[in-house]
């Protein structure tokens, strides 16, 4: 497969689907089959279902949290949600953007909670009946580059909106290049900074996508060792089970940490980039 990055998911899924039907499936194809988008029903796909589920779950969790206030005091689910929202407002938004960072808190909270819930949903194995036998489904919608591209596009718009609304269009463009620069450096710096507008959200996109994809890939590879070695001999298959399961559990726990860290990093970097464009160097 020699596809460019954006076609990775689509073409790999198609090839994995074809390879899975042959008698001797390629291990790489099986792994790609498990981490890429697969059809689900007629018009749905795995990533679409889990994307909508994550978005709906965020809305439900937040509604429950809002109802959890008793005379202004958070109870139940409201306690963790409030502490996370306060953390995002005080430690991320106001520290990185400045005193006017408060108005970006809703956007940053949306990023944080959606990425967190989408990643955590991917760690839950949902039982599913397919082709007459039961299996499990653990899908992260942020493991699809289209989803992270959409998140990064929103981040890009927020960064440019912050710069333009605060400094005006002319001031925003002028602020891209640091002042006091020698004139001969200007053509180079303008190109670099204009590229920088797009590379910033591009790295956000690739970081989140690759993190989610890589975590699920490692878990799939570890669990795939069992049927692969069982094909060699029954004793090897049984022998690898404790190794495979304990390593898989370790990676699952690591993924739990990664879910929080990635949600934090995406939110934090978006806030830093917004702050960079809102308050360019004087």
């Amino acid at each position: 497969m020699n596809a460019p990055l954006l076609l990775l998911t689509a073409s790999a899924a198609a090839e994995a689907g074809r390879a899975a039907e042959t008698a001797q499936p390629d291990p790489a194809a099986i792994v790609m089959h498990h981490v890429t988008d697969q059809p689900f029903g007629l018009i749905w796909s795995h990533h679409l279902v889990f994307f909508l589920a994550a978005a709906a779950l965020v809305l439900v969790i937040v509604r429950i949290a809002i109802r959890g206030y008793r005379a202004g005091i958070p109870t139940g689910l409201a306690t963790p949600v409030e502490s996370l929202v306060l953390f995002i407002r005080d430690e991320i938004a106001e520290k990185s953007i400045g005193h006017d960072g408060r108005k970006f808190t809703p956007l940053l909270c949306s990023f944080f909670f959606f990425i967190l819930v989408a990643a955590l949903l991917g760690l839950v194995p949902f039982p599913i009946l397919r082709h007459g036998h039961w299996g499990t489904l653990a899908v992260t919608s942020t493991g699809n580059i289209a989803v992270t591209a959409a998140l990064a596009a929103i981040s890009l718009l927020a960064q440019q909106y912050a710069g333009i609304s605060r400094n005006g269009l002319f001031g925003h463009l002028k602020g891209l290049v640091p002042p006091g620069l020698p004139l001969w450096l200007l053509p180079v710096m303008i190109v670099i900074e204009v590229l920088g507008i797009f590379t910033k959200p591009f790295t956000l996109m690739v970081r989140l996508f690759a993190n989610m994809l890589a975590g699920h890939m490692v878990i799939t590879v570890l669990l795939l060792l069992i049927p692969m070695l069982a094909g060699v001999s029954a004793a090897m298959g049984i022998g690898i089970i404790p190794v495979s399961l304990s390593l898989g559990l370790f990676i699952l726990l690591l993924e739990l940490l990664v879910a929080f860290v990635q949600a934090y990093i995406f939110t934090m970097l978006t806030a830093i980039f917004i702050g960079m464009y809102a308050h360019p160097a004087h």
Partner: protein
């Protein structure tokens, strides 16, 4: 030996080189952060946050390389 075998070999070597670079980078980062926290425990929170962000940036660059190796590893021969 088909050229795809070389691609698979390159994917393995590339993944190894990627983890060397990332491990060295994040190791240096963590070592410096710990030194900083040991010298200035009051600034521990800020240093830890900056460390996580810098580690994220290193990781992001690492994943570019990792995706290239993934593309090589999933080549059909």
């Amino acid at each position: 030996m088909s050229p795809f075998a070389l691609a698979h070999l390159a994917a393995g070597i590339g993944a190894g080189l990627t983890i060397i670079g990332a491990g060295y980078g994040i190791g240096r980062l963590a070592a410096s952060a710990m030194e900083g926290i040991a010298r200035q425990p009051n600034a521990g929170g800020d240093i830890r946050m900056s460390m996580i962000i810098a580690a994220g940036l290193i990781e992001g660059a690492t994943f570019f390389a990792l995706i290239v190796t993934m593309l090589l590893a999933t080549m059909k021969g």
